[in-house]
């Protein structure tokens, strides 16, 4: 069964979309809406078995759910030093994962976190407004410039390639060579195919790609709500600096 599912996903990702999305006022595909990934990539974008979570007390509630992965064509081509770093990050998630500290997630991670995000589309700007940490991306459709400085969510220049929104993002803190090219293509009224090609010669031996469907949140009352997580991580980050009270 697992193999069949994997095959189905691979085929879907490689297909040329036949679907023609409704048009926005300027004639481009209308991607407005609230979207969400539904997969296990937030635990690990590569295929992985079920595993215990990093906090014993949370038991099965925070365990790693098994997933077949969203990376196209085999393991991520890490350079050796990067592979070691990844291993260290995985083994020390509680101290090294930016999500634990409610930090901005970067790209493409923001897209496949298990929370909805909203696309607000105009000819000049496409906004991607995320639930997690209130992360927001501005996609500049005109006036493409180089990233003026490094940032967490990067600097995104966008263009239309037929049915597909192509977003080119650079200027990340993660690595000064990181370059992410995302493709958003409607495959039906309530589905987008999301593809992200990751290029970073400092970290990977070659560019690699992930892909997954995004699903429209179709509830009539769907909305992006406040997930202001800073106050949930303060005791973790600064609790050791609390003034000691004499007993």
């Amino acid at each position: 069964m697992a193999a069949v599912l994997w095959l189905a996903v691979t085929v879907a990702a490689g297909q040329t979309p036949a679907y023609r999305a409704p048009r926005s006022a300027d004639g481009t595909p209308d991607l407005n809406g609230i979207w969400q990934a539904l997969n296990e990539a937030n635990w690990n974008i590569e295929g992985h078995s079920a595993a215990p979570g990093p906090v014993m007390e949370l038991g099965a509630a925070a365990a790693v759910a098994p997933g077949l992965g969203v990376v196209d064509g085999g393991p991520i081509p890490y350079r050796p030093a990067a592979a070691s770093q990844r291993q260290e990050n995985a083994e020390n998630q509680l101290t090294l994962d930016p999500e634990i500290k409610c930090y901005l997630p970067g790209v493409p991670r923001a897209t496949y976190m298990p929370y909805p995000f909203q696309i607000i589309q105009t000819q000049q700007y496409i906004m991607m407004v995320h639930t997690y940490a209130g992360a927001v991306r501005t996609i500049y459709m005109d006036d493409h410039v180089e990233a003026p400085a490094d940032s967490w969510m990067g600097w995104s220049n966008g263009r239309w390639d037929g049915e597909t929104l192509v977003v080119d993002t650079t200027g990340f803190f993660h690595s000064d060579a990181l370059h992410v090219v995302e493709r958003y293509t409607a495959t039906g009224p309530d589905h987008l195919l999301y593809e992200a090609t990751i290029e970073d010669p400092n970290t990977f031996t070659r560019p690699w790609k992930m892909s997954m469907p995004l699903y429209r949140r179709v509830e009539a009352n769907a909305e992006i709500m406040e997930f202001r997580c800073v106050e949930f991580v303060e005791e973790l980050m600064y609790g050791h600096l609390r003034k000691e009270v004499d007993q």
Partner: protein, 354 residues
């Protein structure tokens, strides 16, 4: 619209190269008044009357409020004690602006005021460097007519006293991160509101409109207000948020936003969590927008009260303001306080030994 045009007394200020500040008075009814004041460093030009503005519409038919805006202003929320009139003359506005600009630019000289050791202009703390909304009003508050927040109810006073006592019980701000203000903790800036009020710096906003939504991106902490226009109800009473829950609609050319369901953790000037807020955004011309708000909170104030804030077009883009991620100040404040306590304890111990 008429009310807006009659009551919005906008002046526009530009900082030209070489530090020359030009204030453009764009008051419709003043356009015919010869505004000749040429204050030192300030230049006044009459602007086109607001009546020439024709509303532009987005492709889906919404009045177009899109663009980059600032609500920086020198006008105080409440009328100063020594002012008895509702409006300044344009000359007085210029005089005030010049005085404020002089005070703020004096701060740009390191060493001129205590504890300032860097150039404020590098950090945009001198407001006269950027675009600003001008207003002939002596206060942003327009109702009640005295320009002051109405008296607090007994319940409001009791709550204020309780909050002050709770703060005292918690100890000094440097005792624990939770004792610091939401602003210092990078949770939310006071000015993000709503209501949205300018402060010293980064008072910048981007409005983007798509079918069914108005999105307002706030520069500070990259906060987004996503306003649905489909008439949906507020969430149930138990679902509360720092910025409340906002629902919008168009009344003619005015965007009206109703906000409720505040969580009460960043109360606006002592408000209760049940405050209801009505905001009205009206484009007045290419470069100016009238922002009006009414605060209705009978648990806190004896009457609703309203204010008008001039918004002025500014330039984008807004760069990512990753506040929490770069909040070294929080660590340093707390760690510094602990280090000082340790030093004091060691000194006391040393004294005992001597």
């Amino acid at each position: 619209m008429n009310r807006s045009r009659e009551t919005l007394h906008m002046a526009r200020r530009r900082v030209a190269s070489g530090g020359v500040v030009a204030v453009v008075v764009a008051v419709a009814w003043l356009a015919s008044v010869p505004v000749a004041a040429q204050a030192q460093g300030l230049e006044v030009e009459p602007a086109a009357p607001a009546e020439t503005w024709t509303t532009q519409y987005t492709p889906d038919g919404q009045p177009d409020l899109q663009g980059f805006w600032t609500n920086t202003t020198y006008t105080p929320l409440q009328r100063p004690d020594d002012v008895t009139k509702a409006f300044y003359t344009p000359e007085e506005v210029l005089e005030n602006a010049q005085r404020r600009a002089a005070v703020e630019s004096a701060q740009t000289e390191p060493g001129t005021i205590a504890d300032v050791h860097y150039d404020f202009t590098q950090f945009g703390l001198d407001r006269s460097q950027g675009p600003m909304g001008f207003n002939l009003r002596t206060s942003l508050i327009v109702d009640p007519p005295d320009g002051r927040i109405p008296p607090m109810t007994a319940e409001g006073q009791r709550r204020a006293a309780e909050r002050a006592e709770a703060r005292k019980q918690r100890g000094a701000p440097t005792d624990a991160v939770q004792n610091q203000s939401p602003r210092a903790r990078c949770i939310i800036m006071d000015r993000a509101g709503p209501p949205m009020m300018g402060n010293l710096y980064n008072n910048n906003y981007q409005i983007v409109q798509a079918p069914g939504y108005v999105m307002i991106l706030i520069e500070m902490i990259h906060d987004v207000r996503m306003i649905p226009l489909d008439g949906r109800p507020h969430p149930p009473q138990n679902v509360r948020q720092w910025m409340g829950s906002s629902r919008g609609r168009w009344e003619g050319e005015t965007l009206v936003i109703e906000t409720a369901n505040f969580n009460g953790k960043s109360p606006f000037r002592g408000s209760s969590e049940n405050m209801r807020l009505t905001e009205r955004f009206t484009r007045v011309d290419e470069d100016t927008m009238l922002y009006e708000f009414t605060v209705d909170d009978p648990a806190t104030w004896s009457a609703p009260w309203s204010a008008e804030v001039p918004w002025e077009k500014t330039v984008g883009p807004l760069f990512e303001h990753a506040c929490h991620e770069g909040n070294r100040g929080m660590y340093n404040m707390l760690a510094g306080a602990r280090a000082e306590e340790k030093r004091a304890a060691e000194a006391a111990e040393q004294q005992l030994l001597n």
